[in-house]
Structures are given as structure tokens and as C-alpha cells.
């Protein structure tokens, strides 16, 4: 605040001016892309959310069906909206689980043990695999009669395993397990990179001071990994609110009593099965606001726990 602002404009040479123009041109491409492919769709979605548009008669058809904030008011009392929102939030439990497991595996793989590269690759395979393909795969893993899981349970206990995808609560557990498995590779790789960035000298100094393993982990590893944790937290939360494919592929009609359906699944149904584009857009806007608020809070809170080496 106390800085003195220099109002004096530096005169640019002809060449600098020319360079500046070129610079603007380079900036123009992404800006235009942003306006066209992000800003406009957002505005368009918001406008749509104020209508009862069903997709008919183009832009004009949309404007003719203006209904104010009716869609938002209806959303407040829409049981399915709250149900799917709750389910989506429940699925977020997988994020801390995934982060803890990711960190544990990363620390394990940070040692010089034979075959560690093979292990790292194996854990990353789910990340690069098609989500649809692995969802189908896991639907089979969870299969009541023929699934891998129930075959193992039967072999171990002699009893038939539970109906993983056919029970209102178990289906949520199943989805969380699947999502943790799918996201584990990303956390491992990121944490691994984070671990390798921590200078060894910190640990050596701590050891000279007599710190034990837990103290070193708690006071050096964990704080210095906090930027990575922060990054994973933000991206997984945004991704977590947008879960769709898993539900679409692994369940029929969103699971028994709609128990596995997420908010994006509901949005999709409204938009592309009921053709209530206005209502679906209202859900999208609310979802965007939720994601923004949570991300904002995360950013605000980061000063309290995110540490950097500097």
C-alpha cells in the first residue's frame, strides 16, 4: 500500500511497440478461446437456467420460455436433488482415504527396493485406463454371484458375500472403494514427486537432534508435502463433485432407490432424458457455485496449513 506509484510512462521504442503488438496477438488467442468456450457457455447456462427451455427452436425458443428463478425455487424442494447432492458428498469420503493411502504407498515406493519401478507403473495403470472400461471391470468384481470379491469371501468364510451393487448402503461403499482405487495412482505419483523434493539435509539435521521416525514424519515430511496435499485436495474435490461415468456404467437407473446417483447423474437425466434443459442448467449453476465456494474456502484456509520450503 505504501508503494509510490510511478505515473511516468516509459516511452517505448518502435521495436518494443511492435513487440507489444505481437504480444497482444499471442494473448488474444487464449483470451478469445476462453471467452468463446468458457465464459459464453457459462453465461448461456445461466440464461438457460432462467427458462423452461427444452432445446426447441434455438436461442429464440429459449428466450420465449423465460421463467425467472422458478427452477431454483423448485430445486429447494426437489427431493432427488438433495438426495443426489448428499450421495455426492458421501462419495467425497474417498478423498481423505485416497490421500492417506496414496501417501503411505508413496513413502513405501520412495525407498530403494527391487522392482519399485514396476510397482509404480502398476499403481498408475488405473489412472491411464479408460474410466468406462474399468467401471465395467469393477461392476464384474462386485457381481453378486460371479464377482471376484464374493468368490473370495465364499472361499474364506464359506458364506455367500453381500450384494455389493444391490443394496442402498453397500453400493455407496462399493463406489467409494472403486473411486479410491482409480485415483490412487495420481496421489502416489504426486506425493512421490513431493517426497523427492524434500532435501535430505532436513532429515539429517533432525536425526542429529535426535528426532525419531514419527517426529521426522510429523514435522518435516507432512508439512513440506502440504502443497501437494493442497493440490490433490482441490482437484479431487472438484472432480468429486462431478462424478458421473461410474454411476452411469455400474448401476441401472442410478442404483436401487436412486441410492448411487450423483448430482451430475441427475443433471444428465434431467437434460438429456427429460429434456428439461432449463432445470438441468439450474442444477449446473448451483453445482458450480458449490464448487466455487468450497474451492474459495480451501484457498482461504491454505495459509493456516500449507507450508513451502522457502
Amino acid at each position: 500500500m505504501g508503494r509510490v506509484k510511478s505515473k511516468k510512462k516509459v516511452k517505448l521504442s518502435a521495436m518494443s511497440k511492435r513487440e507489444e503488438k505481437w504480444a497482444l496477438l499471442f494473448v488474444a488467442a487464449p483470451t478469445l478461446g476462453f471467452l468463446l468456450f468458457m465464459a459464453w457457455p457459462i453465461v448461456f447456462a445461466f440464461l438457460t437456467s432462467l427458462t423452461t427451455w427444452n432445446g426447441a427452436k434455438g436461442f429464440e425458443g429459449m428466450l420465449n420460455r423465460f421463467c425467472g428463478f422458478d427452477n431454483y425455487i423448485k430445486l429447494l424442494t426437489d427431493k432427488k436433488f438433495w438426495q443426489t447432492l448428499t450421495t455426492t458428498v458421501i462419495y467425497l469420503i474417498g478423498i481423505p482415504i485416497g490421500m492417506i493411502l496414496g501417501l503411505l504407498f508413496a513413502m513405501g515406493m520412495n525407498r530403494k527396493i527391487p522392482g519399485v519401478r514396476v510397482l509404480r507403473t502398476m499403481y498408475y495403470v488405473p489412472v491411464i485406463s479408460s474410466l468406462v472400461a474399468v467401471s465395467i471391470l469393477w461392476a464384474w468384481v462386485y457381481n453378486y454371484d460371479y464377482g471376484l470379491l464374493n468368490v473370495i469371501i465364499k472361499a474364506l468364510t464359506g458364506k455367500h458375500g453381500p450384494n455389493w451393487l444391490g443394496d442402498e448402503n453397500l453400493i455407496k461403499v462399493s463406489m467409494i472403494i472403486f473411486m479410491v482405487w482409480k485415483g490412487l495412482g495420481t496421489s502416489i505419483i504426486l506425493y512421490l514427486a513431493g517426497l523427492q523434493n524434500i532435501p535430505r539435509s532436513y532429515y539429517e539435521a533432525a536425526m542429529v537432534d535426535g528426532a525419531n521416525g514419527w517426529q521426522r514424519f510429523k514435522n518435516i515430511t507432512l508439512p513440506l508435502l502440504s502443497p501437494v496435499t493442497f493440490y490433490i485436495l482441490i482437484t479431487s474435490m472438484i472432480g468429486g463433485f462431478q462424478v458421473f461415468v461410474e454411476v452411469q456404467v455400474m448401476t441401472t437407473n442410478g442404483g436401487i432407490g436412486y441410492s448411487a446417483a450423483t448430482i451430475v447423474y441427475y443433471l444428465y437425466e434431467k437434460a438429456f432424458e427429460s429434456f428439461q434443459l432449463g432445470y438441468a442448467s439450474a442444477i449446473a449453476i448451483i453445482l458450480a457455485i458449490i464448487i466455487f465456494v468450497i474451492t474459495f474456502i480451501n484457498f482461504k484456509m491454505q495459509d493456516k496449513w500449507v507450508k513451502t520450503i522457502e
Binding site: 461415468v245 441401472t252 432424458e273 429434456f275
Partner: protein, 500 residues
């Protein structure tokens, strides 16, 4: 502060859109996978059979098209399997040759069709010819998309269509499907969802085949199913069942035959709560599973669907759509002998099932309505095309011919002489399509409402609890009715908004 806020906002949008992008990409490819999990099990298998069918394009040389449409430039947008695409492509080629018109042919999958058509609508750039099902006629007409065909299609052509399918595509501005008002589509096909039985299982159990002339009552049906349900390998677990039908496709066959219905006469109210006929039928459907045990349990059904079990020879009775015949006659797919029979009858004594159809419509904005109408007439009623699709030239029947004369004449003769492989008792199909005193095929109630949301509400309310006996049908109906009513109200509001 403001700048920071802006940064966060931008970061959120970008990350979200990045993730969204990934999601979007996979979402499209998901649809195929969904089909495997959803109950359209039936069509899926047909698709793979369809892909093996080779169409003899030479067979389509006698196409009769008249008229000069050399200035016409048409776009056709439909979903089709490979063999259907080949049929329509060759008809288009002939049409272009004979009339001088230019036709652009765009084909997609049935899963993606709805979304792509929506994109056309949103862009206000409709193809000249596209598919519309009976359930979507009213909404499309209200939104001004469909051209009335009355002035463009010969009465002779219309009169030679199956009566009820012609009616399904008429709309008078109030209620669709009653046979009143203008005609808006020519059928691509007219299907019915008949019932079939596995003869081998009957033979082994020493049970007489069902008599198509005398449909079973529900009690008789249960009795037969009980005889067919058994543990064939002696491991203590049942592995062969009387029947196994997914509720979303088969419940109608029980509700309507018992005189039940979901909605009131003007489709404004859901009336299942406390309705004796409906509840009795739904409870009977559930009892087949939870009381009589003649179907796989809910758990077993999630493990392996009825369709796969039927193909595997584990099921005595199973639904058979007209599109399934090709697959069921293919020994690699279904190595058993089978015949057609009636769905069991409830209180009305009439066996009922759902009919279905999809039709060719012409856009109201088409610049060349005459040419477009001539082309859909060719698609719908060209004899050679119908011979291919109904299996006379390919040996795999995927639909009943649209042309009544041909269906009742040559088509049946070719089935009788074995040219068209078909299960026993093809008359069952004709009975459902034409309606008799013992048989009636109907368009289900979703056909007459603006969308199917109320039905989806029924499906997503947890009906599985009724099937496994944790809840009664009456309790479920009372519980789910408000959500269904809400969805129906929303649909009717949309209809009213579109009509204004």
C-alpha cells in the same frame, strides 16, 4: 483481494472444465456400456446379429420412384444398425438416381440419437427427415417441428399400414395416438413384445406346450412355472426357473391384462395408490419372485440378467420382441427350440403386451416437402426393402413388414415354408398387432404423456424391495405416487408451455 478472488474463480473454472472435458469425452462412449447394464439387453444381442447380416443390394433394383426432384437437397438423420443402414443407403441411391435429388445420409446409434437431435433443435437447423417415436409426436408437433403428411402421402399407402400404427402417428393437437388428426410419420417398423417359451425345457419337464389359443390364467402360469423351476445339477441351488422378466419391460403385461393403469383417462393424475387392479397385478408380478420363487432372486438378477439366462437355457418363459427373432433363431446365440405364446391373463381375460414403433418424420421447415415425403414413403413401404428387413432375403427377421398385404401373404408363407426362420406360432405376433378377443397389443401410457419422467420415478423409487418381499406392492404404490405425480405435473406444465 478482488484479484485473488478472480484468480480463484478462474482457477476453479479452468480445473472444472478440464475435468468436465474428461468426463464429457467418456460420457459419450459410456452409452454403449450402459446399454449392457440397462434393460435394453434385448436389442443389444440383435445388434450383433444384425451386423452379420449381409444385404444383397442387387435385390433392391426394382424400386419404383416417380417424380423429378433434381433441385431437392435432402438431409436424412436416423439411427440404424449396419444392415438397416445398408438397406436405407441403397434405397437412397436409387432415389437419387431416379429423381435427381441430392440426399445426405447421416446415421448414428440409438443411444446417441436423442442428444444429437436435441443439438439440431437447439441450433434450429433440422434435418429434412428424422425419426420420431409415437411418444414424441405431440411434443414435436407442439414445438412446430413436424410436417403433416396428409397432402403428401397417398391414401393407398396409408391404408396398407397396420391400423394401430397409423393411429399412433396421428395427433389432433390435444391427445396423440387416438387416431384423430393429421398423420405425422410413416412407420419405420411396428413391433410387439410377445412371450416365448423354451421347448427343450418343457420337454424335459414333461409339461405340455402352452396353447396360443388359450392363454394361461395367472394361477395356471404359476403352476407351469413351478414345474419348470428346478435344481438341474443337484448342487442344492435352483438353476432353472419358470420365467425371468425385467420389471421395466414386463410389468405392463401384468398391469393391463388385470384392468389396471398408471394414469387417469386424461393423463393428468397418477392413480396407482389404492387401485386394486394395479396393486394386485404388481403384487402378483413380485410374488413370482418372492413368494413362488419361479424367477431368479433380485440378487441373482443383478448378477446375471434374465436375457443372458434365457439364452443360456435356464428360463422357461421369456419376452420376445419382433426384433429378437433373428437372434433367437441363430443357433450360435440360442441353441434351443422355441415357440411363441401369450402372456398370462389377469382379470380381463385378454392377454396384453406393449407394442412399439419408430417413424420417419419430415421437418416442417423442409424446403422440399414433396421430395422428402416421397423418400420416406420409399423407406417405409418399399417392398424390396421390407423383404430384407423382415428376413426374407437375409434369413434373420428383425421386424414385421410394414406393408399389411405382404405381411399377411408372402411373409407368412415364407415362414411356413422355412425361408424365414421363425419360432412356432407366428400368429401370436399378428394377434398382438391386430388385436383379437384374446390378444391385445397396446402403446403404454408413456406414449401419451409429454415425457417419461413419471415412469422413471416409479423405477427409481426402490421397486426392488417389493420384488424381494421387504415391502408390499400397496405400500410401494402409496410411497412412490407423490414423486410420480410431481414428475407428471412437471411434464404437463412443459406441454402447456410448448402449446402456448
Amino acid at each position: 483481494m478482488k484479484r485473488k478472488l478472480l484468480c480463484i474463480l478462474l482457477a476453479t473454472v479452468m480445473t472444472a472444465s478440464m475435468l468436465c472435458g474428461c468426463g464429457g469425452e467418456t460420457a459419450e462412449s459410456t452409452s454403449e456400456a450402459t446399454e449392457a447394464t440397462e434393460a435394453t439387453e434385448a436389442t443389444e444381442e440383435t445388434e450383433s446379429i444384425g451386423a452379420q447380416i449381409e444385404v444383397d443390394e442387387e435385390a433392391l433394383t426394382d424400386v419404383a420412384v416417380e417424380g423429378d426432384y433434381s433441385d431437392a437437397d435432402l438431409t436424412v438423420f436416423i439411427f440404424a444398425q449396419d444392415h438397416e443402414k445398408a438397406v436405407y443407403q441403397s434405397l437412397i441411391d436409387k432415389f437419387m438416381e431416379e429423381t435427381g435429388a441430392n440426399v445426405t445420409f447421416e446415421v448414428t446409434t440409438s443411444d446417441e440419437y436423442g442428444q444429437k437431435l436435441l443439438a439440431y433443435k437447439a441450433a434450429d437447423d433440422m434435418p429434412d427427415i428424422f425419426y420420431v417415436g409415437p411418444e414424441a409426436v405431440a411434443s414435436n408437433v407442439d414445438d412446430g417441428y413436424l410436417l403433416p403428411l396428409d397432402d403428401y402421402v397417398d391414401a393407398a399407402v396409408v391404408n396398407n399400414l397396420w391400423g394401430s400404427v397409423g393411429n399412433a402417428y396421428r395427433y389432433d393437437g390435444k391427445t396423440a395416438g387416438t387416431g384423430e388428426g393429421s398423420l405425422y410419420c410413416l412407420p419405420k417398423d411396428f413391433s410387439t413384445f410377445a412371450f416365448a417359451y423354451n421347448k427343450n425345457i418343457f420337454d424335459e419337464a414333461g409339461v405340455a406346450y402352452p396353447d396360443p389359443e388359450n392363454p394361461y390364467t395367472w394361477d395356471e402360469f404359476v403352476e407351469v412355472c413351478q414345474k419348470l423351476t428346478k435344481d438341474t445339477d443337484g448342487d442344492g441351488e435352483v438353476d432353472q426357473w419358470g420365467t425371468a422378466n425385467a420389471l421395466q419391460w414386463a410389468l405392463d403385461a401384468f398391469i393391463y391384462t388385470n384392468g389396471g393403469h398408471f394414469l387417469n383417462d386424461d393423463y393428468t393424475e397418477v392413480v396407482i395408490d389404492g387401485q386394486e387392479e394395479f396393486i394386485e397385478a404388481f403384487q402378483f408380478f413380485a410374488d413370482l419372485t418372492c413368494k413362488y420363487g419361479v424367477t431368479p432372486t433380485v440378487e441373482q438378477d443383478t448378477a446375471l440378467g434374465g436375457y443372458q439366462r434365457w439364452l443360456d437355457g435356464q428360463i422357461g418363459f421369456y419376452a420376445c420382441g419382433t426384433w429378437d427373432v433373428g437372434a433367437f433363431m441363430d443357433k450360435n446365440t440360442f441353441p434351443y427350440e422355441w415357440g411363441l405364446c401369450a402372456w398370462p391373463t389377469g382379470k380381463t381375460g385378454v392377454s396384453m403386451t406393449r407394442n412399439g414403433s419408430v417413424g420417419f418424420a419430415v421437418s416442417a421447415d423442409s424446403e422440399y416437402p414433396e421430395a422428402a415425403a416421397a423418400l420416406i414413403t420409399l423407406f417405409s413401404t418399399d417392398l424390396e426393402g421390407q423383404r430384407v428387413l423382415s428376413g426374407e432375403t437375409t434369413g434373420a427377421s428383425l421386424q414385421i413388414p410394414n406393408i399389411m398385404d405382404y405381411a399377411k401373404g408372402d411373409f407368412k408363407d415364407r415362414i411356413a415354408d422355412g425361408t424365414i426362420p421363425y419360432g412356432d406360432n407366428v400368429d401370436v405376433i399378428f394377434n398382438y398387432i391386430e388385436g383379437t378377443d384374446k390378444y391385445q397389443g397396446i402403446f403404454v401410457e408413456t406414449t401419451y404423456t409429454y415425457n417419461s419422467d413419471w415412469w422413471n420415478a416409479f423405477l427409481s423409487g426402490g421397486y426392488e424391495y417389493v420384488l424381494n418381499g421387504e415391502m408390499t406392492a400397496a405400500e410401494y404404490c402409496a410411497q412412490v405416487q407423490p414423486a410420480m405425480q410431481e414428475a407428471l405435473d412437471a411434464a404437463n406444465e412443459m406441454k402447456a408451455a410448448a402449446a402456448n
